[in-house]
Symmetry: C2
Subunit: 216 residues, 2 copies
């Protein structure tokens, strides 16, 4: 009995999320905005990579806004606003992912008429966001070599779900005794169509490739 109710309810929730995600996508399109959903474990470097992209866009005269999603706190939001860009902070409370409805509300807080791009930083983990597209144009999943060489094998769905895979902190590969080629191989097997980028975001390695992959 419970099973049936759960499954139906889950279907309802997912269908409703997809409906709102489509609305978000249309809303962004109507403002000429391209949006990217950044996924990945905590500490993988999502925030820093978005900060770097904001600066790249500034140098090109383009304007970016950011939606920062976390269970709690505003650490990332505070980092973003230091770059002088409009940002919205979402605290999910107990949920381990953003959903289209939360992003819809956050978009209301951004000056969409003045933006060319919106970066959405999802809640940090490699599991939950998979079922909840938020209406972005591309999804970018960030992992780092400090997480070990088995990250892709342990979480195939999120890699299948993403358009771009960033393998970050490759400068620490030797110190961590982790071979980034294994992560790259597993990512390619899981998602042959994805663009895979080796990155050291602190030192800027891989940024040009990412900018190209996102069409910025």
């Amino acid at each position: 009995m419970h099973k049936v109710v759960t499954v139906d309810l889950e279907k309802d929730i997912l269908a409703e999320n997809r409906r709102i995600a489509n609305e978000n996508s249309e809303l962004l399109k109507s403002h000429g905005i391209t949006a990217f959903d950044f996924l990945g474990a905590i500490g993988s470097g999502k925030t820093l990579i978005i900060e770097r992209l904001i600066e790249v866009l500034k140098a090109k005269g383009k304007r970016a806004g950011v939606i920062a999603g976390d269970v709690s706190g505003d650490d990332d939001y505070q980092r973003f606003i230091k770059h002088g860009v409009p940002a919205a902070n979402i605290n999910t409370g107990k949920e381990c992912h953003l959903d289209a409805h939360l992003v819809d509300h956050a978009l209301e807080d951004l000056p969409l008429d003045k933006l060319d791009y919106v970066f959405i930083e999802n809640v940090g983990n490699l599991v939950c966001p998979v079922d909840f597209p938020v209406g972005s144009h591309k999804r970018v999943v960030v992992i780092s070599v400090t997480e070990g060489d088995d990250m892709v094998r342990k979480h195939p769905p999120i890699f299948a779900f993403s358009d771009v895979v960033i393998i970050n902190k490759v400068d620490l590969s030797d110190a961590m005794e982790v071979d980034p080629k294994i992560l790259e191989r597993d990512a390619r097997r899981t998602n042959p169509g994805a663009k895979i980028i080796m990155m050291d975001a602190r030192r800027g390695k891989g940024m040009d490739e990412l900018v190209n992959a996102l069409g910025l």
Copy 2:
């Protein structure tokens, strides 16, 4: 309408989980087994720390079993069985946490009469396991400095939920430009009663303190 159904269903699921967690706890007690639930982000070092503890127990003539929980794959399970200990592998498929029912089944696969301790490695993230106690005696949350200094502030519930907090990979603090004292301060604020241990599991730093904290 949906909200009400969801909330009731969630209450049912959580209550049922607690009931089975209590049964697991009683089952373990009846075999004289102490169990530890290891929580923490992917790549924080949970597997290596459990591997180290298995060896510590071996040296003391004690016998440990392990339950390895992951969304997908058997990487951790394969590491555990190399230590010659009984282990059970749980793949959660899409769920981002173990639950008491999954652990109940895994316990059936372990030779409980021959064990003194069971280590349970939960699915790697700092959000989902909070609502699902599995019947362990103590919970240990593992974070590492490579995840950044805001990990505790971003996920207070899991720190409040745990008995022991391990701050791992402190040897990389300088390279990561992360001050482990900030993590320690935030953890102490969130959970004044928790034992907080600075660790470098690769080199064995902090192991004696952990062994003491767990009463091994």
